[in-house]
C-alpha cells in the first residue's frame, strides 16, 4: 500500500485489511484485491475528511464508522447463507467446532466434553441415517432382482439355496408382490437420501450460527485490544 499514513495508523489499517481479507476467503483473487483497494481508498478519504482529535482516535473512529469486515463483505445474516451455498464441508465445521471448544470458549473440560458429546451424537445420527437409506436402496434392488428371477424361473433360487419372501404359494404372484415391496423400499431409500440433503443443510446452518457469533465476539475483542494498545 502507498504510504499515506503514519506508521502507527498504517499498522491499524493493515490489521483491518488483513481481517477483511480473511473474510474474503473463497472469493476470486481479482475481486478480493479490488475490494481491499476500494476499502483502503474509503479509509483514506474518511481519515482525511475527519480532522478532530489525534490520529489514533481518528483512524479508530473511521474504522468504527466503516463497520466490521463481516459487514463490508456481506450483510449479517446472509453470510451464513452464503457459506452454506458454497458447499462447505460438514467435517470442517465439526473440526472448527472442536477447535473453538478447546481453545476459544472458556468452558473447561466439562464444557468441552459436553460439546464433544453433542457432536458425536449428531455425527452418529447422520451416519446411521445414511446407512439406513443405503441399505434400503441396496436391499430394494436385491429384492427386485430376486423377485424377477422368482417369476422367471423359481428353480434358480432354490438351486443356490436363496430364500426370498414368500407371501403366497404361487411364485408369480409372490414375485410380483416382492417387486412392489422392493421398489417401495428402494424409493424410500432414495427419498431418505433426498431428504438428507435438506437435513444436512439445516445442521450446517445450525452449526454456522454459533460460529458467526463466536467470530463476531472475537473481532470485537480484537478491536478492543487494538484500541487499548494505542490509548
Amino acid at each position: 500500500m502507498t504510504n499515506n499514513f503514519s506508521p502507527s495508523v498504517e499498522k491499524i489499517v493493515n490489521d483491518y485489511l488483513k481481517r477483511l481479507k480473511l473474510h474474503l476467503k473463497g472469493f476470486p483473487e481479482k475481486d478480493k484485491e479490488e475490494l481491499v483497494r476500494e476499502v483502503y481508498s474509503h479509509i483514506y478519504e474518511s481519515f482525511v475528511t475527519d480532522s478532530t482529535g489525534d490520529e489514533i482516535d481518528r483512524i479508530l473512529n473511521v474504522l468504527n464508522k466503516l463497520g466490521e469486515p463481516t459487514e463490508v463483505v456481506s450483510s449479517r445474516m446472509s453470510t451464513a447463507m452464503v457459506s452454506m451455498g458454497k458447499q462447505r464441508k460438514l467435517p470442517l465445521y465439526i473440526l472448527a467446532g472442536v477447535t473453538i471448544a478447546l481453545f476459544g470458549v472458556p468452558l473447561g473440560i466439562g464444557g468441552f466434553a459436553f460439546l464433544f458429546g453433542i457432536l458425536i451424537t449428531v455425527v452418529a445420527l447422520i451416519f446411521s441415517y445414511y446407512i439406513t437409506a443405503f441399505s434400503l436402496v441396496v436391499g430394494g434392488w436385491l429384492g427386485l432382482i430376486a423377485s424377477i428371477i422368482k417369476i422367471a424361473d423359481p428353480a434358480i433360487l432354490d438351486r443356490y439355496d436363496i430364500e426370498t419372501m414368500t407371501f403366497f404359494s404361487d411364485p408369480t404372484l409372490s414375485g410380483i408382490v416382492g417387486i412392489i415391496v422392493s421398489i417401495i423400499c428402494a424409493a424410500l431409500g432414495f427419498f431418505m437420501f433426498w431428504l438428507g440433503k435438506y437435513m444436512m443443510r439445516g445442521i450446517r446452518f445450525l452449526f454456522s450460527l454459533p460460529m458467526e457469533k463466536v467470530k463476531e465476539a472475537r473481532e470485537r475483542r480484537r478491536l478492543k485490544m487494538v484500541r487499548s494498545k494505542y490509548d
Binding site: V39, T49, V73
Partner: protein, 130 residues
Amino acid sequence: MENKIKQLRKGILELAILGCLYHESHYGYSLVKTLSGEGDITLTEGTIYPILSRLAKEGLIRSEWIESQQGPPRKYYSLTAEGKNTFEVLNGEFKKLTELIVDVKKEPGKKGQEKERKKILVKKEREDDK
C-alpha cells in the same frame, strides 16, 4: 424497534444508492456522505459495498478507477442505461408505496367522516319513514 428500522433502511438503501448515482457518479466514500446527508441517518458505511457489488453484477452500475489528486485512486460508480431504467421503475413504485402510507395515516379521518355521513343518511331514512 431498532431492528425494524435497520430492516427498513436496508431495503431502501439500494434504491437510494441508485438514486444518488442517477444524477452523478460517486466513489464509495462520497456516496456514503451523500446518503447520510447532514448526519440525520447513521449508516454503517461498509454495508454499501456488498450492495454495490451486487448491483454491478446485475449490470445496473459500472465502475472505473480514477486517479485522485491526493491519496490513492478512487473507484467511481455510475449507472448503466439499464440501471437508469431500473431506478425510474423502482422510484415510481416507491412513490406509490409512500403515498399508500400517507393514505393509511389519513384513513381514520375518512372513516369518521363516512360514519357520520351514514348516520345522517340513516336519520334521513328514518325521517322519511315517519
